[in-house]
């Protein structure tokens, strides 16, 4: 109450002055002391400076005295302190090996990825096991390690850990060796090398994909290549486990693996007859001499399998020993059913059952049949005609029973005249044809003149195909009309060559020139057509039948150097006739100088002197001056 009174009466005093009352002071300090003592008690008894409990793995490091086991005074957490305890990891890091030495981790503080003081159940190692890149550990997961192993602990387990100190550490990923046998059992029980990868890859142990039998002392050849491994390498039980012997197998002799079905009768060297390709297929280079058995193998018999003749179930290849009189039919079936006798060799030989030209040595007499073989038929392979059975009757009346129509039905419409191939061809050969000119002359187109000498192909072979019918009978069906468009139709009709030409001789032309506007007379009757109608100066020479002028100078050369030209035209006929070159029609009296007296007897050349004009000699007929003194006083 006294305290309250003092409040009311002395309100200007500061609040703390109220506390100066002895009772409160004691209470105040007692309280402070109590809390401080409690504080010291807590501090000393629990040493609770830690920011949180350590995880189970580090639980033994709990307590004030252990702080510096991990913490460095004044410098947080140092990697050295971590690695001082984690010795196995330290060993890995110092060897620059393992995940902690990878580029991803190197240089980082431990505390970047790991932490502590997050409670007893805190897991300081956490990563996504599904996406973890195992390559960073320095051991790439390949094949089955990648696809078949689903859980890290399938490999990272105490059984596989080689470092003794790590063996019993739960959840550790350290301590595995990269050697296969550190995790896998040695299936081969130390009979093979420790280098598993020399034979196996990571995908399939059983396949042993890296294994190459050729590198062993026994190279696989032929059928051995296709054989299952287990055929030679048998599975057995050794030391209570399945085991296959791959090393130390005897292979010096075939009988090491194979059973001698001949029971030693043919010696120990199987390769005398057999090879690796096939037991039943005897090697072509076999050295077994069949002749010693009394039966020499020839032809195809050399190539066939022994079993074709020797049944393995009978007498070890000696089934023929007791048989007498061994003929082809001992082994072969008579497909002719005895109709052709028992002597097969009369037709067949050992090279081929088929009777081919080159190998035919048979003695079958075809003369006995209704169709004796003649000409080329004598050397044809029997099978060519006898497709199935030699004894089956064959139609042979017509050639086309066997042969194809080489003319592709060209003679179908002429069956009445040419019923069979034999009309033109014989068994001596398809060519040459036996068709005669007489036969040809019975056709629509008789061969006359030069046509008789022509080979058949001149007319009947067009574009490499023989054509005999409907090739036409007109000249232009075979010959080319070289006058087409050059000679008017009125002179030779519709390309009727025979108007001028005949089959006798092409060059002999029989044309009546009187039918033209220029009937021929005199020397013109003797001239060749080409002299006037072929322009020989052009190359190739042009035919000129139309538009030829009747002027002499059109064809003839003016040798007088145009002395007689009047108005551009020289009329040769004034002096010359068409019969002869002689100036028959010339009368000197009609000139300006009439010849009389002795002049009549004077040779022309006495007055008409030849002079050189250009390259031609021109006789001068036009004498300019003809007074006596012009000639006589020279």
């Amino acid at each position: 109450m006294s305290l309250h009174k003092s409040h009311i009466t002395n309100t200007s005093k500061h609040i703390f002055s109220i506390q100066r009352g002895g009772e409160n002071r004691i209470l105040c300090f007692a309280t402070i002391l109590f809390f401080l003592l409690q504080l010291l008690f807590i501090a000393s008894s629990y040493a609770q400076l830690s920011p949180g409990k350590l995880s189970k793995a580090h639980a033994k490091l709990e307590g004030l005295s252990n702080c510096t086991q991990c913490h460095t005074i004044g410098d947080k957490i140092s990697n050295q302190k971590c690695l001082a305890c984690h010795k196995e990891l330290n060993a890995q890091v110092s060897k620059n090996k393992g995940f902690h030495s990878s580029a991803q981790i190197k240089g980082k503080d431990c505390m970047t990825c790991h932490s502590e003081h997050h409670g007893l159940n805190f897991n300081a190692i956490r990563f996504d096991k599904n996406t973890f890149n195992h390559n960073f550990t320095g051991y790439e997961l390949k094949g089955g390690h990648k696809t078949k192993v689903k859980n890290c602990n399938d490999c990272h387990k105490a059984d596989n850990i080689t470092i003794a100190t790590l063996k019993n550490k739960p959840n550790t990923f350290l301590g595995l060796d990269t050697k296969c046998l550190s995790c896998h059992d040695d299936y081969h029980q130390k009979t093979l090398s420790n280098d598993c990868t020399a034979c196996h890859d990571f995908n399939d142990f059983k396949k042993a994909a890296m294994f190459n039998h050729d590198k062993t002392n026994f190279t696989l050849i032929g059928a051995h290549k296709k054989e299952n491994c287990a055929s030679c390498h048998k599975e057995e039980i050794r030391n209570g486990k399945k085991f296959v012997k791959y090393a130390g197998l005897s292979f010096s002799n075939c009988t090491s693996c194979h059973k001698d079905i001949h029971k030693g009768e043919y010696g120990n060297n199987c390769k005398t007859c057999h090879n690796e390709e096939s037991f039943t297929k005897i090697s072509p280079s076999r050295s077994f001499n069949h002749t010693v058995t009394g039966y020499t193998l020839e032809g195809k018999h050399r190539d066939i399998n022994c079993k074709k003749c020797h049944e393995s179930s009978v007498g070890n290849f000696k089934e023929f020993a007791q048989k007498n009189n061994i003929t082809c039919l001992t082994c072969h079936k008579d497909i002719h059913e005895g109709k052709l006798g028992n002597d097969c060799k009369s037709c067949h030989n050992q090279q081929s059952f088929l009777l081919k030209n080159k190998t035919y040595t048979g003695k079958f007499d075809h003369e006995k049949t209704d169709y004796p073989l003649e000409g080329k038929h004598a050397v044809v392979d029997c099978k060519t005609c006898h497709k199935s059975d030699f004894t089956d009757p064959l139609p042979h009346k017509d050639c086309m029973s066997c042969h194809n129509d080489k003319h592709n039905g060209d003679f179908e419409t002429k069956k009445d005249k040419y019923p069979d191939c034999a009309s033109c061809h014989s068994v001596s050969g398809f060519t040459p044809s036996q068709f005669t000119i007489e036969q040809h002359n019975k056709s629509k187109f008789k061969l006359e003149g030069a046509h008789i000498a022509q080979p058949c192909f001149s007319c009947h072979l067009a574009d490499k195909k023989w054509v005999f019918n409907n090739i036409g009978t007109e000249c232009i069906n075979c010959h080319k009309d070289i006058h087409l468009g050059v000679i008017d139709k009125k002179y030779y009709g519709e390309q009727s060559c025979s108007t001028c030409h005949s089959t006798e001789n092409w060059k002999v032309v029989n044309f009546d020139h009187k039918t033209t506007k220029y009937p021929l007379a005199g020397g013109h009757l003797k001239a060749k057509c080409s002299d006037c109608h072929i322009d020989k100066k052009s190359n190739p020479p042009n035919q000129i039948f139309k538009g030829l002028s009747h002027q002499c100078s059109n064809c003839h050369e003016d040798i007088h150097g145009r002395q007689f030209e009047k108005n551009g035209i020289t009329d040769c006929a004034k002096c010359h006739g068409s019969e002869s070159w002689n100036p028959k029609f010339f009368n000197h009296d009609n000139t300006n100088y009439k010849l009389d007296g002795e002049h009549k007897n004077v040779a022309c050349a006495k007055c008409h002197i030849t002079t050189l004009a250009g390259n031609n000699n021109i006789k001068s007929f036009k004498i300019a001056k003809y007074q006596c003194i012009d000639c006589h006083l020279k």
Binding site: H4, I8, C28, P51, G52, H71, I73, K76, N121, F122
Partner: protein, 281 residues
């Protein structure tokens, strides 16, 4: 400081506290909700862990705010040279601001992990803050001068008379007497809560009576404010002695917790510095 300036002063400090709290919750809630064992693998762990840039920063800042808040206020109270600097009421408000914001920052600095020795410091801090809230309530129950000095009962009674005069201006003397008669305390004493409820009912009663006099709305509000003050004053007068006693005991709690908090905080800071977690700014 004018009334408005004071309001801005308080508003600013309150806003800062609220905004900082909201921001820190918004930024770190997913992380703080994560269990202790899982936190290390949370994306925000590196930043928000107590030693992370934000976590550690909050620790340092919060500590400094509290040290300034505590020792600044103490200095103002005990150092004569500071006696004239600002009024004590504002110092107290600044003390409350710093010592509210500081502990909130420390709360986020702990990342809601309360263990070890330092947790004693933390819980002491919680106790100091809690006692501070209670203290503030008691403090308000004791009328003071603006300088923070406690008023005597006579001074309080004088204030009451002033109030009555103000009401008189607004109302007729008859009405005033009527209202004052209503506010008179009956002889029977009631406990604090019962008295508060009785006063509340009385205020409603008076308001209804005033409404019948057709008083203007503005004047009515003014009168009601005065009536409220009157009733508050009545209650404070009634409880003054009790409150003064409580306030006396309160100091015994508030200060020792603060000392414990500071001592263990110093140990905590010392240990962290020793282990290499130093000044980060």
């Amino acid at each position: 400081m004018t009334k408005t300036a004071h309001r801005i002063y308080l508003g600013t400090m309150t806003s800062i506290v609220i905004l900082v709290t909201i921001y820190l919750f918004y930024r770190g809630l997913p992380y703080y909700k994560t269990s202790i064992e899982e936190r290390f693998y949370h994306v925000d762990h590196k930043i928000l862990k107590p030693s992370g840039p934000i976590g550690h920063g909050l620790g340092i800042t919060g500590t400094l705010l509290m040290i300034i808040g505590v020792f600044g206020y103490q200095a103002r109270k005990y150092m004569k040279s500071l006696a004239r600097v600002w009024v004590l009421k504002h110092w107290l408000e600044f003390h409350i601001f710093l010592c509210t914001l500081g502990p909130i920052m420390i709360l986020f600095h702990t990342s809601f992990k309360f263990g070890g020795l330092v947790s004693i410091s933390f819980w002491s801090m919680v106790a100091v803050v809690a006692s501070g809230v209670v203290g503030r309530f008691i403090y308000l129950q004791i009328p003071r001068t603006i300088q923070g000095r406690e008023l005597s009962l006579n001074e309080i009674r004088g204030m009451q008379t002033e109030l009555a005069e103000k009401i008189e201006i607004e109302l007729s003397s008859e009405k005033l007497n009527e209202i004052l008669a209503l506010t008179k305390r009956s002889s029977s004493k009631k406990n604090i809560i019962a008295q508060y409820l009785a006063d509340w009912k009385l205020k409603i009663n008076i308001k209804q009576q005033l409404k019948k006099t057709n008083l203007e709305r503005q004047k009515l509000n003014g009168v009601m404010s005065l009536v409220s003050n009157e009733l508050n004053m009545n209650r404070k007068i009634e409880r003054l002695q009790v409150m003064q006693k409580w306030f006396n005991y309160w100091h015994v709690i508030h200060l020792p917790f603060a000392i414990i908090m500071l001592v263990i905080m110093l140990i905590h800071v010392g240990v962290t510095i020793a282990f290499g977690y130093k000044w980060i700014f």
